[in-house]
């Protein structure tokens, strides 16, 4: 059995990175919004799903026209990011901002709104797909350019072009975001609002605008992640965002919520753990517990972290202010 485990290990780690990068990108959206608003934006999993659906549609309609698969993917990534980002802004504008304007102090109100928005988006996408194609189980069209595969390390890893693209794009986005948050004026403003919204507004920062930008950035990251997810895992439904959403949030908590490098780290760690258990659980238990339990593992990790290190891997303990 050990031999079997060792033989699979390189592939498991490689696949774990694929999953981990998707989680990392989605987790950033959760963590940034949590940073500025202290709100678990449940709708973010649907922003991710919208990105995936846009990806499928771009491939469906443009694949015959566009010759190069790489150009096609670039178009899909841009469109997916833009549509998802705009949706995120609209959600903020019409669902969350009215609550802020009223100045509700009750913490349940925005949370319940977020859950409601998430449900509305799922069924809206289903409705649109239903009217458009009379079907909401979507399959990503495969394009030859992106499907090519290589064997690495003497056949220990089977890797496809699209997997390398996924990792490459993720790393680019993560580096870009880190630059944006740490080095630009907008980044300073976002961090200022996250630290203290009221004081930031006294320093000439318009919080509403910054919050809107934060949703745009987090949303487009989620959308890009969605397109890459669709490319990698191919089957997409309007309800596909829910589980990756919970897990990406788990990743954000794992890394320390509100902490941007933490979200990336958390995503990668969670991707590895989940893929590890998903592959080895059936082997270790002689098939008695199947791959389905990988979702349970992710959830147990969440509980475990909340118990032993609620501030996350990279987070700092924050004293509650009165």
């Amino acid at each position: 059995m050990l031999e079997q485990i060792l033989a699979l290990l390189p592939q498991v780690i490689f696949d774990g990175f694929i999953l981990g990068f998707v989680y990392a990108m989605v987790a950033l959206g959760y963590t940034m919004v949590y940073g500025v608003l202290e709100l678990i934006n449940f709708a973010h999993s649907e922003i991710f799903m919208i990105g995936a659906v846009v990806g499928v549609e771009v491939f469906r309609y443009l694949a015959p026209q566009v010759e190069s698969g790489f150009l096609l993917l670039l178009l899909a990534l841009i469109l997916g990011g833009v549509v998802a980002g705009i949706t995120a802004i609209l959600v903020e504008r019409f669902a969350y901002r009215p609550l802020r304007a009223r100045g509700t102090t009750n913490r349940l109100v925005p949370l319940i709104t977020a859950i409601g928005v998430s449900f509305i988006l799922q069924d809206l996408v289903r409705l649109i797909e239903g009217l458009w194609h009379n079907e909401f189980f979507l399959r990503m069209r495969t394009v030859e350019d992106l499907e090519g595969s290589v064997s690495l390390f003497g056949g220990a890893i089977f890797a496809q072009t699209k997997s390398f693209i996924l990792m490459g794009v993720s790393i680019l986005m993560l580096v870009g975001l880190t630059y944006l948050v740490n080095r630009t004026k907008l980044g300073v403003a976002i961090r200022a609002v996250a630290q203290d919204l009221h004081t930031a507004s006294l320093m000439g920062i318009d919080p509403d605008r910054i919050i809107s930008r934060t949703f745009l950035i987090g949303g487009s990251l989620g959308g890009v992640a969605g397109v890459l997810f669709a490319l990698q895992y191919t089957t997409i439904t309007p309800y596909v965002g829910f589980l990756p959403g919970i897990k990406a949030f788990t990743a954000a908590v794992l890394g320390g919520i509100g902490n941007i490098p933490g979200a990336m780290l958390g995503g990668l760690v969670l991707g590895q753990l989940e893929n590890f258990f998903g592959t080895y659980l059936p082997i270790l238990t002689n098939g008695n517990f199947g791959t389905e339990y990988k979702d349970v593992v992710a959830f147990l990790i969440l509980i475990f972290i909340l118990l032993v290190r609620p501030q996350g891997l990279l987070g700092q303990v924050v004293k509650e202010k009165v």
């Binding site: 913490r107 349940l108 449900f119 919970i246 349970v296 009165v322």
Partner: protein, 442 residues
């Protein structure tokens, strides 16, 4: 104004008798609105309510349409919330609706029983969730998980399923259901303890995501624990689940002069059982709200730090709320399993949890009549109105693709209810006093 409401009620009574149709029932609901919301003298209002009760009953009996049930629930809510109606009349009318109108309508149209039982089960659960979300302010997004634990507790032992891992005579006879209602209270409260212990130490929003995950885990377990040992029979679900024997109930009804046939006897029985449970749950709810714990919950909801400085132990108090809510859900799960004689993971999805949450939000967090009204409104919407509407769409607009079937878009409807309520009326339709104050304060 006074005479107008009674005239409208009288007109609806005539309509219900002579021309029962969805339109005339909508007219009746309008008449109820006039009676409930305009300034009326107590005598006239009472008279109108009594007339409307009669009219909705007749309407339900004479048409296959169940809109009248909304009317009856509306009258019940009006009776519990409107001021200056003599107590005797309140009780009398409420009893007449629950014990006469609904069963009479049910004999004419068994779907009314089915709806009544579902409303009752959901109302009891909404009241349980009301303790968690409304009183203690803890957002539980996996409430259906406890419902599942309760339902499976009885379904496994009340069917041949238990033979797979235990020696003995299974299924257990139906009488054991009553015992299992007690056992389910314990198992679900323990499940609540197990989940709450880590999750409740942290800030409120973490509880939301942990309970969301819990709901998913329970569903995964129910789906997959058919191997290596078959506990739950996987996605096919468990059937048949035993129901309690009701010979005594038939005899009792016979001595009262009601002769039941094979289809209505169990429905009437479960209808009364559910009513009894709601009565108990309301009693517990009211007593809890006024107890030391109820006050502690409200204090925690409004300001955790302040509550702690007043000497309220946070974790145990929150745990108690969480476990109480879980136990309510568990008991109803047992009844649900027995009433339908069938249990499958399908019934315990995230959608179910959010539906129950929607009931609490719609009625008003912390409000007891609100939770019941919310349960009735959403259940009728879900089981009746959306289905009727989708029938209508299918017939009148055949060119619309069949994927666009309104009955499949409950999520959209519930999502809209949650968001619109939160933006425009966060205190709910029938606000509880303290909650209204809290929401308006900001």
């Amino acid at each position: 104004m006074n005479a107008l409401s009674s005239l409208l009620s009288l007109a609806y009574l005539g309509l219900a008798f002579l021309a029962p149709s969805p339109v005339s029932h909508l007219f009746g609901l309008a008449a109820l609105g006039v009676t409930a919301f305009l300034r009326l003298s107590p005598t006239w209002r009472t008279l109108s309510l009594a007339l409307l009760t009669l009219a909705f009953t007749v309407g339900l009996m004479r048409s296959g349409n169940t809109l009248g049930l909304i009317g009856l629930v509306g009258i019940l809510v009006a009776l519990t919330t409107l001021p200056r109606i003599p107590t005797g009349i309140r009780v009398l009318l409420a009893l007449a609706i629950l014990l006469l109108s609904v069963p009479l309508a049910g004999f004419a149209n068994t779907f009314v029983f089915e709806l009544g039982i579902q409303i009752g089960i959901y109302a009891a659960m909404a009241l349980g969730l009301n303790v968690v979300v409304g009183m203690a302010g803890l957002l539980d997004l996996g409430y259906a998980a406890f419902f599942a634990v309760g339902a499976y507790t009885w379904a496994i032992f009340g069917s041949e399923q238990a033979k797979n891992f235990l020696q003995g005579n299974f299924p257990l006879p139906g009488e054991y259901m009553y015992l299992f209602m007690g056992i389910a209270i314990v198992t679900t409260a323990l499940t609540g303890l197990l989940i709450g212990l880590p999750a409740l130490r942290l800030r409120g929003d973490y509880l939301a995501i942990v309970t969301l995950g819990l709901g998913e885990v329970v569903r995964i377990l129910a789906n997959n624990l058919d191997h290596p040992i078959n506990f739950t029979n996987g996605p096919q679900g468990i059937t048949p689940v035993q129901r309690p024997p009701i010979d005594w109930f038939r005899q009792l009804m016979a001595t009262l002069g009601v002769h039941l046939d094979r289809t209505t006897d169990y429905q009437l029985f479960f209808y009364f059982l559910v009513l009894l449970m709601i009565g108990l749950v309301v009693l517990v709810n009211v007593n809890l709200a006024n107890s030391r714990f109820g006050r502690a919950w409200v204090a925690i909801r409004e300001d955790e730090v302040a509550a702690r400085s007043m000497g309220i132990p946070l974790l145990p108090t929150k745990l108690l709320a969480f476990m109480t809510g879980a136990a309510f859900s568990g008991v109803m799960g047992v009844i649900f399993a027995a009433q339908r004689t069938f249990v499958s993971p399908e019934s315990f999805t995230l959608l179910a949890s959010i539906t129950i949450l929607g009931m609490v939000i719609l009625g008003g967090m912390g409000s007891i009549p609100g939770a019941i009204l919310g349960a009735a409104a959403l259940t009728i919407l879900n089981l009746d109105v959306l289905k009727t509407f989708s029938e209508f769409v299918r017939i009148s607009l055949p060119q619309i693709p069949n994927q666009v079937d309104p009955a499949k878009y409950e999520r959209l409807v519930f999502g809209l209810i949650l968001v619109l309520m939160m933006i425009f009326r966060p205190e709910g339709l029938i606000p509880e006093k303290r909650h209204r104050a809290e929401m308006e304060e900001a």
